[in-house]
Symmetry: C2
Subunit: 611 residues, 2 copies
């Protein structure tokens, strides 16, 4: 996830682009850059925020009427000056900005290297622009045609803009998977990841469709499909306010991020799992395969929501890879004198990659010789750098303080890891592995389906919005989901919600239950279904108000529960990715109804970089 | 802990004793027995409750004016008919009932066996009566003198009554450590562990002191010290009601059990730890020393409060014995497919020894070849029997549903285990081990001191009795204490209290904190003291109401906290035994003030024998 902006018209391009990039910083902010056409093609880029780029440009000449800019959220290559966009081709005559992931970049790069192309960054995007240059040169075709042909070569997701010194009054763009909108002004055009950089200049926009190529040349807009079929652009009037657009039409970043999950889960699997090709591969695991195969124990260190993802991973790794797993609060781990051996693998989970306690915990584990494996969302973050190997979650920047899409991305990546390690260790039946791989690919669609419960959940939220307490119960794979559901509610609605393994309820918490206590029970069909039905009856016997998350078609629990939320069936090992969705929505709607600041709840910070 | 009753006078002894035993069943109920003198010395005894004994006696002849009875709480030997009291001597001419533990019984038994004495039980008490018979025969002295000399031989605690066929109108009793009260009627005497079996016949009582020997013969009472110095008995008038006496003068069993802890902790160490003799020995560990030395991993399975004791044990075993420990909810452990190896040791913790989930968890672990070590309070319970080895906690019967003394007894036993295993593995410095052994012996005195905080805590309880929510925070060894403190409050006051590792607060729960939220912080002086002071400041900055448990003399935290409770300093590894005391008292007083049924909180059961 990155932000892109481009301009072609009669105004000065640079200030428009810089201002637009600032609006898009919610999409990424690890580095930023700008390219301006004014006879030659100048690129300015810098690690950091857009304001760092501004300072860097300073008084340098920026006069131009055609330009493009990018604010980055790293996916390939750490955030630094050279990995920042735009990227030149080897000849430096053309340049690209790119939002997305090119999955087959490694293979393309090998070919391009053999043909003498040079690379100054670790990005997939630089491969893209050299591929375009290669086709442009070899086929002796127009740049537009070269772009079109290049799009047939790349696998993955992209929104790109390409500028060339040889066509000083032209801007070429294309998209697949990543968003792009064109702003249509008077003799000027704007192009951006969303409408926020555009809206103060024009309210007429065109949403570019997947596989479309946009050419704006000499004041004319032309849109064709990848197959070179011209399309008639549909111009729409924007009626949204700025801050709403920034949130993609959602009222809050958190809601936007909840709804992004089918996509962010898919992004986290992209290039790593292709079931019908029997492809399951993560670079970090492959590199350390022997360590994982020989591992006596896996220690997982994390805090907060990441710790919950770690609990899911414990169940996955123990069940499939048959390695004993211990999940530790990073803060507790680092201050006691834990037993750490050189044969231990420590998995550190952190969305920001900057969580101070987690970072300190892995430094401790490293000093004892353990292998550190980082699972972070922010590329090049401190934890990613301090790890021996790792896997990024590719959820894109998470702005809402209460983590949602980062959690499901973590669980996705940890699931793939566990399956890959299980395969390497020979501890999983081939048929089971295949079944789970196919199921994993279906998860985004099931999440999409679970998101359709929104209206129903809003109704339930309205019923319970004023209660002071909540209990959340789950067993097995749904136990961490219960903890996570409770944490979400706690964080944003300030309702005291607590999660428990369902069977532990009898050992104390059941005393809390009376006719005023809502109890959320995650009771999808799995191996402990009968047991959790008993737990529901125990709650009911004490008059607790039951909200049950059940598998579609369940006809037993609806007889007992006050409210039932049906989620699509999924293998029990994968069900957390689906069953957590209604809990995220429930906490969101309750918090909104209580008038809480959902995106910036009191007392909390997005990334806890203090101890 | 057992209950004893005796009678000598003009009434029928049997019904008085049986009725008295029923009153004392709170002291133990695993087996019961009665001895009656009527020319010969008859003993009736049976596994089970007093009602089982009654059924067993049925229509058998019980006419007698001198007798004694016992309701047992097993310490040596499982609960069965032969281990029930009274115990005959080998000649069957004398018999004993005994409440307490004879620590040097094994050595005494060896000598007695060599002299031809026979044993029909596994008890230390049968050793005691044979020792008396041996002295009686060899020294050719009176039974009274034989008892007196025997008391010089035994090490430990006792309240005993001895009857002899040769002295049909005599009753001899003695005590050290275990309670005993004499009821003085008209030409009749009663004797019991507390006044409940006596009060309906007389309100004049004499409390027997330690090291006193009581002889009632031909209607006369004579009390002498162990050194044969006659003392003048102090006759007091009872003004208490029956149910109050049963609870030892406390309003509730829970409070009584809280105040019993100096004693129950000492009982749990008795015979296992003698610091100045450098003695640290637990039978179950000695037997399985090689397993512990070679252990790759310890798995602890438990539920509720026992699970919290397990968390303390995790820290102890990792720090001192350097064995990786994983603590699991028994219910979660058994339903997933956990990795269990033959080199694993599974420690199962359960007060009742009947917890269904824990029992099922160890059956699973056993089936995979792991060694099972049970830590239970009830001798001969299902978990004790299902274990390969174990250590009893000797806390005595716990009647209050909310566990208090069982928790500290568990932690005591687990601490001794960790230290003994550390010594065997050579992972602890000798000087550190010595220091901790001495410190452990001082813990009961420190608990006694902490109990003096009662009045202050009552005041704090009054301030917070009406709040709906509480947070409990601790780090390191005090993190499980925070969980336990919260669970206690939840169980008996129905206030939603939740425990957290202090540093995790920033990752969510801090959102709950405002000027209405009481936050109990356990902040004794230890290696993370500075960090928890920062956590207190974070709470304070959000206007949370801080109740801090601190080390005596702390002059930093009192500046920040609304209430400060000072506990005696203790080594940080042992501090849970001290720091948990004020939390037990706080929950107790709040519950009482809220009018809750402290001993039988709603929805809960003492021992959870269902899944």
């Amino acid at each position: 996830m990155c932000g892109i902006v481009a301009y072609i018209g009669h105004r000065e391009a640079c200030p428009i682009i810089l201002k637009g990039l600032k609006r898009l910083e919610y999409r990424g902010y690890d580095s930023a850059g700008i390219a301006l056409l004014n006879g030659d093609l100048k690129v300015y880029k810098k690690k950091g925020k857009v304001s760092d780029l501004e300072n860097f440009i300073g008084d340098q000449a920026t006069h131009s009427h055609v330009g493009m800019g990018h604010t980055r959220w790293a996916t390939h290559g750490e955030p630094n000056d050279s990995n920042a966009h735009p990227h030149y081709s080897t000849s430096k005559r053309i340049a690209i900005i790119h939002n997305g992931i090119i999955e087959n970049y490694a293979a393309l790069k090998t070919v391009l290297l053999s043909r003498g192309y040079e690379f100054h960054s670790d990005t997939d995007s630089e491969v893209f622009i050299n591929l375009i240059e290669d086709i442009h040169t070899n086929n002796n075709c127009s740049l537009e045609e070269a772009v079109r042909l290049a799009l047939h070569e790349v696998v993955g997701a992209y929104a790109i803009v390409v500028l060339s010194e040889d066509d000083p009054n032209q801007l070429i763009a294309a998209r697949k998977g990543s968003p792009m909108v064109i702003g249509v002004g008077e003799n000027e055009f704007f192009l951006a990841s969303d409408a926020t950089p555009i809206i103060e200049y024009t309210n007429e926009v065109i949403y570019v469709n997947d596989y479309e190529i946009v050419v704006i040349k000499d004041g004319k807009l032309d849109i064709q499909t990848k197959e070179a079929v011209r399309t008639t652009p549909y111009i729409q009037k924007l009626e949204l306010k700025l801050d709403a657009i920034e949130k993609g039409g959602y009222e809050h970043f958190m809601l936007k991020e909840i709804f992004e999950q089918p996509r962010s889960i898919m992004d986290s699997m992209r290039g790593r799992l292709i079931a019908d090709q029997n492809h399951l591969m993560m670079g970090g695991i492959r590199e350390y395969a022997n360590k994982f195969v020989a591992a006596d124990r896996i220690l997982i260190v994390a805090c907060g929501t990441s710790w919950h993802a770690g609990l899911v991973a414990e169940y996955l790794f123990e069940e499939f890879a048959r390695i004993p797993v211990e999940v530790e609060y990073a803060s507790e781990f680092r201050y006691r004198n834990p037993v750490i051996r050189e044969t231990d693998i420590v998995i550190a989970i952190s969305q920001s990659g900057e969580t101070a306690d987690t970072l300190a915990a892995i430094e401790l584990a490293k000093s004892k010789g353990a292998t550190i494996f980082g699972v972070c969302n922010v590329v090049g973050s401190s934890i990613a750098r301090a790890s021996d190997a790792g896997a990024y979650t590719h959820a894109g920047p998470e702005i809402g303080v209460a983590s949602t899409k980062a959690f499901t991305a973590q669980v996705t990546v940890l699931t793939l890891m566990a399956l890959m390690v299980a395969e390497k260790r020979g501890t999983i039946e081939n048929s089971k592995l295949r079944q789970l791989m196919v199921e994993m690919e279906n998860i985004p669609a099931k999440v999409e389906q679970a998101l359709k419960l929104d209206a129903q959940i809003q109704h339930i939220a309205d019923v319970f919005k004023d209660v002071p307490n909540f209990l959340y119960l789950g067993r097995g794979y749904n136990f961490p989901v219960a903890l996570e559901g409770a944490l979400k509610l706690k964080e944003i609605s300030y309702i005291h919600a607590e999660g428990y393994p369902a069977a532990e309820m009898k050992h104390g918490p059941i005393a809390l239950i009376d006719e005023n206590m809502p109890v959320v029970v995650i009771a999808t069909k799995d191996s402990s279904y009968e047991k959790i039905v008993s737990n529901i009856q125990e709650v009911k016997a004490r008059k607790g108000r039951i909200i049950a998350i059940v598998t579609e078609g369940d006809d037993v629990i609806p007889e007992m529960a006050e409210f039932v939320i049906e989620v699509p069936a999924a293998d029990e090992a994968l069900v957390p990715l689906v069953s957590v969705i209604p809990l995220q929505l429930l906490s969101y709607h309750i918090a909104v109804m209580r008038g809480c600041n959902v995106d910036q709840p009191r007392n909390l910070a997005k990334s806890v970089t203090v101890e």
